[in-house]
């Protein structure tokens, strides 16, 4: 009888790694790959779909699985702020560089309008996530709703999922020309809530086998309806849920696992910075090789993350921390952090 314990018991070569980390790393690499290949035989989409599902999965795992319902809105808003602040910094920097301004983009609602954004960032994704988080915070600020959810998280998430999936189909823009398409949260909320559903279905101690079967079936059916059987998004989303359901931890060669972990850790920074590095590659360096662009954007973003993370860690170890620096840390070089010191709101801590 295999025990869950086995999967991380010692005595085998390689390293055990959580599957969602691997998926996160592959998904962000796929996103950058897609964006670095403007000339392509077909659309490589799928990375963002998986990332959105994983965002919901992580939210459920780290925030919604709490038992103190009164904390939920605060926790969700704090998470939304952590996503919003670095994005805002990039949006403002983009305005400054382009010497242009867009109110909808500044207010983080440009996903409701067709057209291109000014930011050197695919800003619709954080906009959708932040808007969804705000909706969730609003729902959970109603005590009865929060209580109901905490009492039956799986059932509640399933109901919400079915509602938002129907809404998604209702607001489908399959027949709208690309230039006129918008990405309001209701269109893809199901993708995000699916992540929450995956977490609660797999965490539920009741009928785990049937939960897995039902979850995979539901995912395949919904993904087929939303994307069509021939789309890459259908396959990536379905396979991701299958992997999460049946192989929550994977044993990989040490170096490969380390690579996935580093890329997985840096995924948000890579998402924030890869467009900037793609611009540097094509406009700044004048290079055209698409695979080179992918490698350059990945390595550049990773290096930036590595430097910022190391700086922040050293800073915290030596001095202290506060929530503002924490929020900005993924995108700011360490030396800039010093100037934020007068703004610190948290208490001084020594480690």
């Amino acid at each position: 009888m295999p025990h869950a314990f086995d999967r991380y018991a010692s005595g085998h070569s390689g390293r055990i790694i959580e599957t969602d980390i691997v998926l996160r790393a592959i998904a962000i690499s796929a996103v950058v790959f897609n964006h670095s290949h403007p000339v392509r035989p077909f659309n490589y989409a799928g990375g963002m779909t998986v990332l959105l599902m994983l965002a919901g999965y992580s939210l459920a795992r780290f925030a919604l699985s709490r038992t103190e319902t009164q904390d939920l809105p605060t926790v969700i808003l704090r998470f939304a702020t952590r996503i919003w602040l670095p994005c805002l910094a990039i949006v403002l920097a983009s305005f400054a560089i382009r010497r242009q301004f867009d109110l909808a983009e500044l207010l983080f609602i440009s996903n409701w309008f067709p057209g291109n954004d000014l930011a050197f960032l695919f800003v619709w994704y954080p906009q959708v996530v932040v808007q969804l988080l705000l909706c969730l915070a609003l729902v959970f600020s109603i005590p009865a709703a929060a209580r109901q959810f905490t009492a039956r998280p799986l059932a509640a998430t399933l109901i919400v999922f079915l509602i938002v999936f129907a809404a998604g189909r209702l607001f489908s823009q399959d027949h709208v020309p690309d230039a006129l398409r918008t990405i309001p949260p209701q269109r893809i909320a199901w993708n995000f809530i699916l992540g929450c559903l995956v977490f609660f279905a797999l965490a539920s101690p009741l009928a785990p086998r049937w939960n897995r079967v039902a979850l995979v079936s539901l995912t395949i059916a919904c993904a087929a309806l939303a994307f069509g059987l021939r789309s890459l998004e259908f396959w990536t989303l379905s396979m991701s849920v299958v992997l999460l359901s049946y192989w929550p931890r994977l044993r990989l060669p040490e170096s490969l696992a380390r690579l996935f972990q580093i890329v997985g850790q840096a995924s948000f920074t890579i998402f924030l910075l890869h467009v900037i590095f793609l611009r540097i590659y094509t406009l700044g360096l004048g290079l055209e090789n698409q695979s080179g662009a992918w490698l350059f954007a990945m390595c550049g973003s990773l290096l930036a993350w590595l430097m910022a993370t190391a700086t922040l860690r050293v800073w915290r170890r030596l001095k202290g921390n506060d929530w503002l620096r924490r929020s900005l840390a993924p995108v700011l070089p360490g030396s800039l952090l010093a100037h934020l010191r007068p703004l610190r709101l948290g208490r001084l801590e020594r480690h």
């Binding site: 025990h3 992580s58 580093i262 948000f268």
Partner: protein, 580 residues
């Protein structure tokens, strides 16, 4: 409190060569299975032959034997052969091999039996004749001597009486089958081997960990009747949702090797009741061969915080600071154990192998109290013992060790750090703090960062003139805070540190995490307490991979649902892992 000693008639013989009574006549169990390894059964008759072979092979002259204690037939037979032949055997583990050369050089054993490609090989490094005490039989290293070659001396009487006591309170008989879940160089593991051999029980030999499914498959296949585990293993089995219904032959489970939290004791006592096995919480130290107390299973649910009552033949007393016995209930005092299983003392070199320093009692360093039901509960430790990473350190010993070269030195500490305070006026010559730290760390088998060297203008003292150790710790805190002044953002130190940190993140350099609290503070950016969990600290998906990696580096492996485990729970796992 004293229990009658059923082994009174078995007092130490006057013979000049010991012969551990519990295994002196194995053939009396005839064709009962003694050992099962890889599907092969060794009967007691056959084991007696193997024991005799080993006894003769080691020679007529009493020798000092170092034996690598693996759960293999050859190692068990060699161990029993040593006991039968009256040789003194030091059991060492596979993980102690790196310290073996130093230990061999110091103790100069006549024979070293170690495994090479799965076979037990014999080496005769020294031909010296040791002055061995007539009763000395076994040498074990303690958790406190991981880095220093300091061994616990156990006599024939110590191990035999303890084996029989254990067999008595666990009600062991010939039908018992234990699957080896612990190494037998670890005193708990040795006691499982001894008590089963003493009663004609069967040992199913495996090197598998109880964390592996294969271990439980083996237990089921051989209808194992017992399971022995340390708290870490029980915690992980609980976390992994192990199904105890899959071990239907289990008759009892024992827990020792550290404190299992009361809720876990209740949990396992309840599980045992539901699945038809008894759960024994036990207390001991290697110095007591090792068992001193056990909690009767029927009392576990009502008194999960207690270590219970003394084992048969043992006696537990509590003493106050003046050394007087405490009789009143619920008054804390140092736990002192008296019994035939108390060691003969420590050996730090070959000269100690000829002496018996046992006063018949063991001051455990644990502070306990006796409740109204007569059960003992551990409530703390005497101040001068600390247990960073589960390794027992005597702070007085460090002071004594360093005093000749650093007069006036004071050592204070807790379970997280050990502070070496140097009086500023006592040392004109500069002290190489880094070298001193490394030396202490190596000596005690602890990481460097546990030790903190500080120079104080004056050593704080109480009005009685005694050193105020609490004030030393506080002064050390502020001194190190001053010395750790922020180096300046563009300074070379800061940039070098960033470079090092980058190398650590990508795995080119080993990370140096000092604790789960530090990991959370550095990565999540929140000050944690012992009860904090990652989710409590508002950890989220933006930092969880980093935190997971750091915990993996610090703990070795990260259990599922780690984000909902408290700092204390994670630290406890690490300290138990270190002890195992």
């Amino acid at each position: 409190m004293e229990s009658p000693d059923p082994r009174a008639q078995e007092d130490a013989s006057e013979d000049q060569r010991p012969n551990a009574r519990f295994c002196s006549d194995l053939s009396r169990f005839d064709d009962q299975p003694a050992l099962i390894e890889d599907g092969q059964t060794i009967t007691y008759r056959r084991l007696a032959d193997l024991q005799q072979c080993w006894s003769e092979r080691l020679g007529a002259r009493r020798s000092l034997v170092f034996l690598e204690a693996r759960n293999h037939t050859s190692a068990i037979a060699a161990y029993l052969g040593c006991l039968k032949g009256g040789h003194v055997v030091h059991l060492f583990g596979e993980d102690e091999r790196d310290k073996l050369a130093e230990r061999v050089e110091l103790f100069r054993p006549n024979v070293v039996l170690s495994f090479n490609a799965g076979r037990l090989e014999e080496d005769h490094p020294h031909r010296v004749t040791h002055a061995l005490h007539p009763q000395l039989q076994v040498l074990l290293s303690t958790s406190g001597s991981t880095g220093a070659p300091k061994l616990v001396k156990l006599s024939d009487r110590n191990i035999s009486s303890n084996a029989l006591s254990i067999a008595e309170y666990l009600q062991l008989a010939a039908g018992e089958r234990a699957v080896t879940s612990l190494r037998f160089n670890y005193s708990y593991g040795m006691s499982v081997v001894n008590s089963h051999i003493a009663t004609g029980g069967t040992l199913v030999l495996t090197e598998r960990s109880a964390a592996e499914a294969a271990f439980w498959t083996l237990l089921r296949a051989h209808a194992g009747t017992s399971f022995a585990g340390v708290p870490y293993v029980y915690e992980r089995l609980r976390l992994a949702g192990f199904s105890w219904a899959d071990a239907p032959s289990l008759r009892y489970a024992t827990q020792a090797g550290g404190r299992l939290p009361p809720d876990m004791v209740r949990h396992f006592a309840d599980l045992g009741e539901r699945h038809g096995w008894r759960f024994y919480v036990m207390y001991g130290q290697t110095e007591a061969s090792p068992r001193m107390a056990y909690l009767p299973p029927e009392m576990a649910a009502a008194h999960p915080d207690c270590i219970g009552i003394p084992i048969p033949g043992g006696q537990i007393a509590l003493i106050d600071e003046t050394g007087r016995d405490i009789e009143a209930p619920d008054v804390a005092g140092e736990l002192v154990y008296r019994g035939p299983n108390v060691m003969m003392g420590y050996a730090v070199g070959p000269a100690d192998l000829g002496t018996d320093c046992s006063a018949g009692q063991l001051r455990t360093g644990d502070v306990a109290c006796r409740n109204a039901d007569g059960l003992f509960c551990i409530v703390g430790r005497t101040a001068r013992f600390v247990k960073p990473f589960g390794i027992r350190i005597n702070l007085d010993q460090i002071e004594h060790l360093l005093a000749p070269e650093l007069p006036g030195i004071v050592c204070a500490g807790d379970d997280r750090r050990i502070v070496i305070a140097l009086p500023a006026n006592g040392h004109d010559a500069p002290v190489d703090s880094a070298a001193l730290t490394t030396r202490l760390a190596e000596h005690h088998g602890l990481p460097d960062f546990v030790f903190e060297i500080v120079r104080l203008r004056e050593i704080p003292r109480l009005s009685t003139g005694k050193v105020d150790y609490r004030a030393v710790m506080e002064a050390a805190g502020s001194a190190s805070q001053r010395s750790a002044d922020f180096p300046g953002l563009m300074s070379g130190t800061f940039l070098r540190e960033i470079g090092r940190e980058m190398a650590r993140i990508v795995g080119f350099q080993e990370s140096q995490w000092s604790g789960v609290e530090q990991i959370y503070a550095t990565l999540v950016g929140q000050g944690a307490t012992g009860a904090s969990t990652f989710t409590d600290l508002n950890g989220d998906s933006l930092v969880y991979v980093e935190t997971h990696m750091a915990l993996e580096e610090y703990l070795g492996s990260v259990p599922p649902r780690w984000e909902q485990m408290s700092v204390d729970e994670l630290e406890e796992m690490r300290s138990h892992a270190a002890r195992i």
